[in-house]
Amino acid sequence: MNKQTTVRRIITTDLPVLVIVLFAMAPFAWMILTSLTPTATLNATGVALSPIGWSLDNYFRLIEQTSFLKNMLDSLIIACGTVVVGLIVSVTAAYAFSRFRFRGRKLLMLQFLLINMFPIVLLILPLFVLMRRSSLLDTHFGLILANATVAIPFAVWMLTSYIGAIPKSLDEAAMTDGCSRLTALRKVVLPLTMPGIISTGIYIFITAWNEYLYALTLGGRNVRPVTVAIQTLIGEYQIEWGLLAAGAVVGAMPATILFLLVQRRLIGGLTQGAVKG
């Protein structure tokens, strides 16, 4: 009887889930296999399926012959900068939204939500013109600002719901003990919100790292994040899929690993709040 239910479960649940997991993983797995196949083999017989044909050749070429490491650094600077800018201005705003009832509160919250819905194409064109005028094109700071257009509204909403989950009585208690509002924010609310702040920061990092259109339009010769660099790996006359795959795998790694590490907490926050995927 028990055995029968196990078999039944495997057929109705485990197998279908396995199919979906394979569907979700297969394309990236194929990319990894491609990156492990040397170009000569790739052109002659296609992707090497067995470990005998694998080598790290493409990865060595990626590091030695291209500026990929420098591009990784650009992405790192931009993503970290966006996290810092996004969190600093959002924490106080989120505190205000969750602790005060003031005139214009709803309208301002709406404003932050609205920004997240704007088509990026509507922003990217005027930002290009503005940044060209103020010579911010092709700088880290310019791209940090551009990414902040996405990061700030997101962070404000996420943090508002995180801070909202902390009982008001805690900071009120601190204030009757003689703390000012700001001290209460710093000493009581911030430490308690830290897990939320960290996962918001990580999510900002991931989106900034993965961002492509701003990087393509507002970056250039000096500042070229990985997402743009990967595309330039396409050879001039013929696509070098092996090299390209290696770049894609390396470029996708940081965000993917972070995502897997924090996915549980992140999903909790995402499903509560209103968030752009």
Binding site: R9, T13, Q111, F118, L125
Partner: protein, 307 residues
């Protein structure tokens, strides 16, 4: 802080006034100022630009044309193609993502030993950069060496290699398939959260009453997750409509104009022809179309905030 005020009473009153009246605005100021500068000012600029005939790098030749750019839209066949493509693009991608996501969520909501692992692995497409996704699928779709054709020919589903991204009739559906793959984990995760909010007792009561699994699904599960479906669906419509990076990298809008959507058309006009006036007017028009969905979504979300 308040140097000139000596009496402790007055100081206290001032600080209360400060904290309760002004403080929220002070706390909000940095975020508001930054967003006004980097979002709203450019936005206003965009609306202005759309009234000008502006080719970038020839700024002296720019002139005010009023609604001229918008008038030009109506007689531009590419605009209508792009509009139609946008409708197909949203109309197919979002339901497909939702359907696959719903299926996945229902499965993941059951008890089985490796549930946590499966849930983490299924999210992977969502975490990948869109450039990587686009290039990856270009490699899979490649007409000569792509693995998809190999598999389909091996299974004799097709007789000869299909040029997935080069055939104007097929290209948009190939991209829709890619975007479905990218987006279904989002739905799965959102719907799963909704499913876990439905009390088990409802199912128990229903099965005592002899309701079949299907009837339980229709009468308990679907109503239970309806709010999540609506919110996630609206969010996704907006997001899918805006996402042009995958198309841009996969086909660049081609072959011909077969995979142009409105935002992509605006972007290409501005980027390749440097025709910022016309490009922005397409972007503004698109934003207005999208506005209806945005308004619906905002209304829903703000109602939640009311609590």
């Amino acid at each position: 802080m308040s140097l000139s005020i000596s009496s402790p009473m007055a100081r206290r009153r001032i600080s209360i006034w400060r904290s309760e009246r002004l403080l929220p605005y002070l706390l909000l100021a940095p975020a508001v100022v930054v967003t006004v500068v980097i979002v709203f000012m450019p936005m206003v600029q965009a609306v202005f630009t759309s009234f000008y005939d502006l080719i970038l790098f020839r700024p002296n030749a720019s002139k005010f044309v009023g609604f001229g750019n918008y008038g030009k839209l109506f007689s531009d066949p590419v605009f209508w193609t792009a509009l139609w493509n946008t409708i197909i693009w949203i109309g197919l991608t979002v339901p497909l993502q939702m359907g696959l996501g719903l299926m996945t969520a229902v499965l993941l909501n059951r008890e089985f030993p490796w549930r946590g692992l499966a849930r983490a692995l299924i999210i992977i497409p969502w975490a990948l950069p869109s450039v990587v996704i686009a290039l990856m699928w270009r490699w899979i779709y490649d007409p000569n060496t792509g693995v998809l054709n190999d598999i389909l020919i091996y299974l004799s589903i097709v007789q000869s290699a299909v040029p997935w991204l080069a055939d104007p009739k097929v290209a948009i559906y190939a991209i829709i398939a890619t975007l479905t793959w990218q987006g279904f984990p989002f739905f799965a995760v959102m719907i799963l959260a909704g499913l876990q909010g439905i009390p088990k007792s409802q199912y128990e009561a229903a099965s005592i009453d002899g309701a079949s699994t299907w009837r339980q699904f229709v009468h308990i599960t679907l109503p239970g997750i309806a709010p999540v479906l609506a919110t996630a669906g609206l969010l996704r419509v907006i997001w899918v409509a805006n996402s042009m990076d995958v198309i841009f990298v996969m086909t660049g809008g081609g072959p011909g104009y077969a995979t142009h959507t409105l935002p992509l058309y605006a972007f290409i006009k501005a980027r390749q022809n440097l025709d910022f006036g016309y490009g922005t007017s397409i972007a503004v028009t698109f934003t207005i179309f999208l506005g209806a969905f945005v308004a619906l979504y905002l209304a829903r979300t703000m109602r939640e905030v009311e609590r």
